[in-house]
């Protein structure tokens, strides 16, 4: 297991290198002179030249790439053109906001999706099965940004139940420690703020959870149906084991592998969807950070932001792969 983990980690290196290379070249394919763009139309030629020199943009591309790579390895993600701060220092609050949102969304998607799938398989062809699968079908076809807008309209504008934007009550801001506000408020024992943070989380996380929830429900159902046909399940039933135990203990254990795969993939997609959700709900996450940088043509931020999200995606999929072994002892790694 340890050697397998190490080997998988080593195999990530070329992928990460390739990603850095692709992002680097996409960003450097931008037409026009970044220094000119930063300084604006009125800038003198000397100023543009000086900035180019300062940013290292006069070097050949491969030199720029390797110095960029060297910087990343030492934890230097460059400086934002807008704020002049080191990206590695200013990115964490944004990243934390996205992690909190994605984590809660994935939790909702897994708990509801897996259970809906199990119950649909258990009571196959019942009204529950039909309506759950119809909802799942609609769920995979819904544009997440539209769902977010509809939620806002229904629950914030019309019903006035939940706040429509942001992470916290602006009049009573959370004192950040980890920047994961659910944890921060609990550490400080501020239950009122905790409730407030939860209320802010509900709408965006449900919007973000919808697509993975629908897909997880469909996969769980088909995977469970397959397992429940097998002989040992019939034996368990014949021995007089209660249906609940058969479904949740014996079947689920064996049906979980495809579900795990899809959970890993969906978590990555979730990170993409987070960009859209964050835009709608003014959620100050990494998606907003990158999106704001696109507007301002802040290339170092775009470059490093995209790389951070993509790296997270890769590591999530790695963790899922490693989880297989924990769940299914039949899987042997060589």
């Amino acid at each position: 297991m340890l050697t397998y983990t190490l080997r998988r980690l080593l195999m990530l290196i070329p992928v990460l290198l390739g990603m850095a290379l692709i992002v680097f070249f996409i960003i450097h394919a931008i037409p026009g002179d970044p220094a000119q763009i930063i300084l604006g139309q009125q800038a003198t030629e000397e100023n543009v030249e000086a900035l180019n020199e300062q940013l290292g943009l006069n070097e050949p591309l491969y030199v720029q790439f390797f110095s960029y790579l060297g910087n990343i390895l030492t934890g230097d993600l460059g400086e934002s053109f807008q704020t002049n701060n080191a990206i590695s220092e200013e990115v964490w609050p944004f990243l934390a906001a996205t992690i909190e949102l994605s984590f809660v969304a994935m939790l909702i998607a897994i708990v509801i999706g897996v259970n809906a799938g199990i119950i649909s398989a258990w009571f196959q062809n019942s009204w529950f099965d039909y309506s759950a699968m119809l909802l799942a079908l609609i769920g995979v076809s819904i544009p997440i940004f539209w769902l977010g807008l509809m939620e806002q309209w229904a629950f914030s504008v019309e019903l006035n139940w939940l706040p429509s934007s942001g992470r916290e009550n602006v009049r009573d801001p959370v004192e950040p420690i980890t920047h994961l506000f659910l944890i921060d408020t609990l550490i400080q024992g501020r239950l009122d703020q905790f409730v407030d943070v939860v209320r802010h989380l509900i709408l965006p996380s449900v919007a973000l959870a919808t697509i993975p929830m629908a897909i997880i429900a469909r996969i769980t159902r088909s995977s469970m149906l397959e397992v429940m046909k097998s002989d040992y399940i019939r034996t368990a039933r014949a021995k007089g084991m209660r249906m609940f135990g058969v479904v949740y203990k014996h079947s689920l254990k064996n049906a979980v592998i495809p579900v795990l795969t899809i959970i890993g993939l969906q978590t990555g997609l979730l990170l993409g969807g987070a960009i859209l959700t964050e835009t709608i709900f003014s959620w100050p996450g990494i998606g907003r950070y990158i999106y704001g940088a696109i507007d301002a043509r802040d290339y170092p931020v775009i470059q490093s932001g995209v790389l951070i999200v993509a790296t997270m995606f890769i590591f999530i999929n790695l963790i899922v792969d490693l989880l297989y072994a924990a769940v299914d002892p039949r899987i042997k790694y060589h």
């Binding site: 495809p258 990158i290 999200v309 995606f313």
Partner: protein, 299 residues
């Protein structure tokens, strides 16, 4: 025709015509029985007709403004209401069908062409060509796709055309991998070896034998991808990175409607419904095609 086939002795090869037609006919029969797939196909055809006939059937032109009539709720004169410029929402949705379907279709065709080229190169020539192309696909798939699209558009500049290009690029690996695996499996077949032995050229072999064998999975994947591509285009439009105002692209319309969420929710509800129905149609049709054409693909 079936009677003829039955009367033939097993040694006599059945006619070429018979063999080519029957799998497609068989697939159509299976597809026709699948009610959800039929519903999907009808929805798709409905929106295609809407898009094609939009200049003639839309009650108003794309940008017919009426400042005396802004943000009107749905009524008999404006079935789906009007937007902030007094433009008829229904008309704009009908005109938008053309844009969304066009982007969805063209970008998927682009992905298929690029994916086929790379997939065939990788699968057929193997070795280092395969290694490079396959690793490239792995890396592209390692990005959340919308993020990659956003990055590409950020570089090319926001426009509908660039959104289309970005969407075509991010979907290339899906088709490339499909074709590559198909080429690899077909390459092992004895008839390919035979064709090679009699001196058939690579290009002819590819066009005559390998591509036709890959058509049904491409159709299935292509149909499902059009739905995804439409959502991706709308997402880029929504972020202001795709279609630009005053184009009536559905995602772009949603972006404009954000400001009127309290006063005119209909400007937001209906474009979104149009996206959802179109995508649902393509998804149902794609699922149905998969069951009909290639049952093994079902997971």
């Amino acid at each position: 025709m079936s009677q003829v086939a039955e009367n033939q002795s097993p040694l006599q090869p059945s006619s070429q015509h018979d063999e080519v037609v029957s799998p497609w006919l068989d697939a159509w029969r299976k597809f026709r029985k699948n009610k959800l797939a039929l519903f999907g196909a009808i929805t798709v055809i409905f929106f295609i007709i809407l898009g094609i006939l939009s200049p003639w059937i839309a009650p108003q032109g794309i940008n017919d403004q009426n400042m005396a009539n802004t943000l009107q709720a749905p009524s008999s004169s404006h079935l789906l209401g009007t937007d902030d410029f007094g433009r008829d929402v229904l008309s704009r949705i009908i005109h938008g069908a053309r844009i969304s379907l066009w982007v969805g279709f063209l970008s998927v065709v682009g992905s298929i062409v690029m994916g086929c080229l790379l997939g065939i190169l990788a699968g057929y020539y193997g070795r280092w060509v395969d290694t490079i192309i396959s690793r490239l696909f792995d890396i592209m798939l390692a990005f959340p796709s919308i993020l990659l699209a956003i990055t590409i558009v950020a570089v090319l500049g926001p426009s509908l055309q660039n959104a289309l290009i970005a969407i075509a690029i991010i979907n290339v690996p899906n088709f490339g991998r499909l074709i590559r695996s198909k080429v690899l499996s077909v390459k092992q077949e004895e008839y390919i070896m035979a064709a090679k032995a009699i001196g058939m050229k690579d290009s002819r072999l590819l066009m005559k034998h390998i591509l036709p064998n890959s058509i049904s999975p491409i159709i299935v994947q292509g149909t499902l991808s059009i739905g995804t591509a439409i959502i991706e285009a709308a997402a880029l439009g929504f972020l202001g990175l795709g279609a630009q105002p005053p184009q009536p692209e559905w995602g772009q319309m949603l972006a404009e409607s954000k400001a009127y969420i309290t006063t005119a929710p209909w400007t937001m509800i209906f474009p979104g419904l149009a996206i959802m129905l179109t995508v649902l149609g393509f998804n149902l049709m794609g699922d149905g095609l998969r069951d009909a054409l290639d049952p093994k693909m079902k997971h």
